[in-house]
């Protein structure tokens, strides 16, 4: 079974990715930025495809954000 990737998948290009992501939001108000992020999540989740991996990512992202957070251990 495939697990959510934890190691660096950017092959040394992490800083360039982050710069690109921040640049994509330039000139957008908060609502439009929220919309961009939502679309991005949907596109990337579809690209991943594997429901188990997506579920793991959702749990990891949800962790610490309030009631109902799933129990995935982030400290392993």
């Amino acid at each position: 079974m495939t697990h959510l990737r934890r190691d660096d998948g950017f092959a040394g290009g992490g800083d360039a990715f982050y710069e690109q992501l921040v640049a994509a939001h330039r000139g957008l108000d908060d609502a439009a930025s929220g919309a961009l992020n939502a679309r991005l999540v949907l596109l990337l989740a579809n690209h991943v495809g594997d429901p188990a991996v997506v579920a793991e990512a959702i749990a990891a992202a949800r962790c610490g954000l309030g009631e109902g957070a799933t129990s995935t251990d982030q400290e392993r």
């Binding site: 990737r5 998948g9 992490g14 982050y18 939001h25 930025s33 990891a60 400290e75 392993r76």
Partner: protein, 555 residues
């Protein structure tokens, strides 16, 4: 009372004021900071006389640039000052990054052994300048160092530069073939030539405080995002010599700079960092904003810009001073050859090409760091905080945490003037790469370092199996047609009587790093960058590569 005793360097009235006709100088350097002084020493070591003009008469007031990277130390070693700097400096290679109270990760900059110089030392700029001044004074016939000589005019002609200089005793003019402008971020020469300094200002204010304390603090670089002990966005601590610590506070754009730079106020912040029980004494502080900017071109006729005069970056990543020293390393061997008439003036254009590329790399890294540290919109902050939240558990997110990408040597692979790579040689030392160091046994049978045998002149490194190969090489060096070519032979066991300078690869690291099968030959530029490499000894190929390199400005 600070730990450093500032001394004034004596001003003496220049002879030109006495009415004597000004003699023409090959090189005038404006600015006696780390970059200008290093350039003077580098040129002097190559026999080129230069005159250094500085509007002040004292070393850097305040610690300013404190982090000196391995590549810079290798350059300083070539200039004969690194041993003193390393002895005085605080050596460090581990950085630790925290989010609030939690350590997110730590990094080790130089996990690999077999290098003479450490990954980084911290040493206050005033020591660096003092050591460089003292080294420059060892060249009394070549370096004319003039304090309280302020440049007030620069005029170019086809054949050179005419400089007007103001002193306490009046003004005079000088003529030079070349002028190196190393007069800092507020460069007078840049202003006098009316050159735009385009870039981006970051809306953030920082407070630097130097304090002396007898704390048993580690030498590691420690960086906090959203520290619990300070209201600001980030705090960075670095240890310097003399038990002086640099603490860097991110204040926010709306901070009142005038109020924050009051020592009492700054020390309140410091006490919250170090805790109540630690004795600490105020040394120096400064509130700063910064921008990333560079000149479009570093070479304007006979005026060459270097260091902060040519490019400025944010301090995170230590890319200002280290970038400036790489400018010196790149420029001076070229300038020396142009002044001596051994290369066309167009060779200086390769300095422009290679160092604007280096400056862009530094600006890119430094801008990314700043963007990460100073999110400007709600979504930027969410993304940044998302990275920090995941970084404790996800290694990929640790890679995105950006508190400074520390200065690494610039790679010049693919630039004109370097030979095409001979695909048959292993190792990472492709043309355009600054040479890795490695321990060797020197010709005198004593431990030495490879880089100590490279630099200031073109040097061939030949891997030889034995005496016969060494003799063949020694007998055919002249066929390269390079007047000042040095040749070192790398052997895996010491012969002691080779007709070449023999360096024995004590630990096998030269072979490993340079893919040094027997017969492999490297040609190294005077700035210790690999110019070309070949599977066999071919003096004609070496000569062609060197002549192409010297003419490469026309590419």
């Amino acid at each position: 009372m600070g730990t450093y005793q500032y001394r004034r360097y004596p001003y003496t009235a220049p002879p030109e004021l006495g009415g004597g006709a000004a003699s023409r100088r090959p090189v005038i350097i404006v600015g006696a900071g780390p970059v200008g002084l290093a350039a003077a020493i580098d040129l002097a070591q190559q026999g080129i006389a230069c005159l250094v003009l500085d509007d002040n008469d004292v070393v850097s007031v305040g610690s300013r640039a404190i982090c000196w990277a391995k590549r810079t130390l290798e350059i300083f070693d070539r200039l004969g000052v690194a041993a003193r700097m390393v002895a005085k400096g605080v050596t460090w290679q581990v950085g630790r990054v925290y989010h609030r109270e939690r350590e997110l990760y730590r990094f080790d900059l130089l996990p690999e052994g077999g290098h003479r110089m450490p990954a980084f030392i911290n040493l206050q700029q005033y020591y660096v300048e003092q050591y460089l001044v003292e080294r420059a004074r060892e060249f009394p016939g070549l370096i004319d160092l003039r304090w309280k000589n302020a440049v007030t005019g620069v005029r170019q002609s086809a054949a050179g530069v005419i400089v007007t200089v103001q002193t306490p005793d009046g003004a005079y003019q000088l003529e030079a073939d070349w002028l190196v402008a190393a007069d800092g971020a507020k460069s007078t020469v840049r202003t006098l030539l009316g050159l735009p300094f385009a870039g981006r200002t970051f809306e953030e204010k920082f407070l630097i405080v130097d304090v002396r304390m007898d704390a048993d603090y580690p030498s590691d670089r420690r960086f906090w995002f959203q520290p619990t002990f300070d209201p600001g966005q980030s705090v960075l601590i670095h240890r310097q010599p003399d038990d002086v610590f640099r603490i860097d506070f991110q204040l926010g754009w709306d901070a009142d700079a005038e109020a924050e730079r009051q020592p009492e106020r700054a020390m309140e912040r410091v006490r919250r960092v170090v805790g109540p029980g630690v004795q600490c004494a105020y040394e120096w502080c400064s509130v700063y904003t910064f921008r990333c900017a560079r000149l479009e071109r570093f070479v304007h006729g006979r005026v060459v810009f270097a260091g902060d005069a040519a490019h400025v970056v944010s301090p995170f990543g230590a890319r200002g001073g280290n970038g400036g020293l790489q400018d010196v390393d790149n420029l001076c061997w070229k300038l020396a050859r142009v002044v001596r008439g051994e290369a066309p003036p167009a060779l200086i254009d390769s300095y422009d090409r290679e160092r604007t590329y280096g400056a862009d790399e530094n600006i890119r890294h430094s801008s990314r760091t700043t963007a990460f540290m100073t999110p400007k919109t709600a979504v930027e902050r969410q993304l940044r905080d998302g990275v920090l939240a995941l970084a404790g558990s996800f290694p990929f997110a640790r890679g995105l945490v950006n508190s400074g990408r520390l200065s690494k040597p610039c790679q010049l692979q693919g630039f004109p003037g370097f030979a095409p790579d001979d695909g048959g040689v292993g190792g990472d030392m492709r043309p355009g790469t600054p040479c890795d160091d490695a321990p060797v046994i020197g010709a005198d049978g004593r431990p030495a370092w490879l880089l100590g045998h490279l630099g200031s002149r073109p040097t061939a490194i030949a891997f030889v199996a034995g005496r016969r190969e060494a003799s063949d090489i020694a007998g055919s060096i002249a066929a390269a047609g390079i007047a000042d070519l040095a040749v070192v032979a790398i052997t895996d066991r010491r012969h002691g009587d080779l007709p070449l300078t023999e360096l024995t690869d004590r630990d096998g690291l030269v072979r490993a790093r340079f893919g040094g099968a027997s017969g492999v030959t490297y040609l190294i530029r005077p700035d210790q960058h690999v110019l070309g490499r070949w599977r066999g000894w071919d003096p004609a190929a070496l000569g062609a590569a060197w002549r192409n390199c010297l003419g490469s400005g026309q590419a």
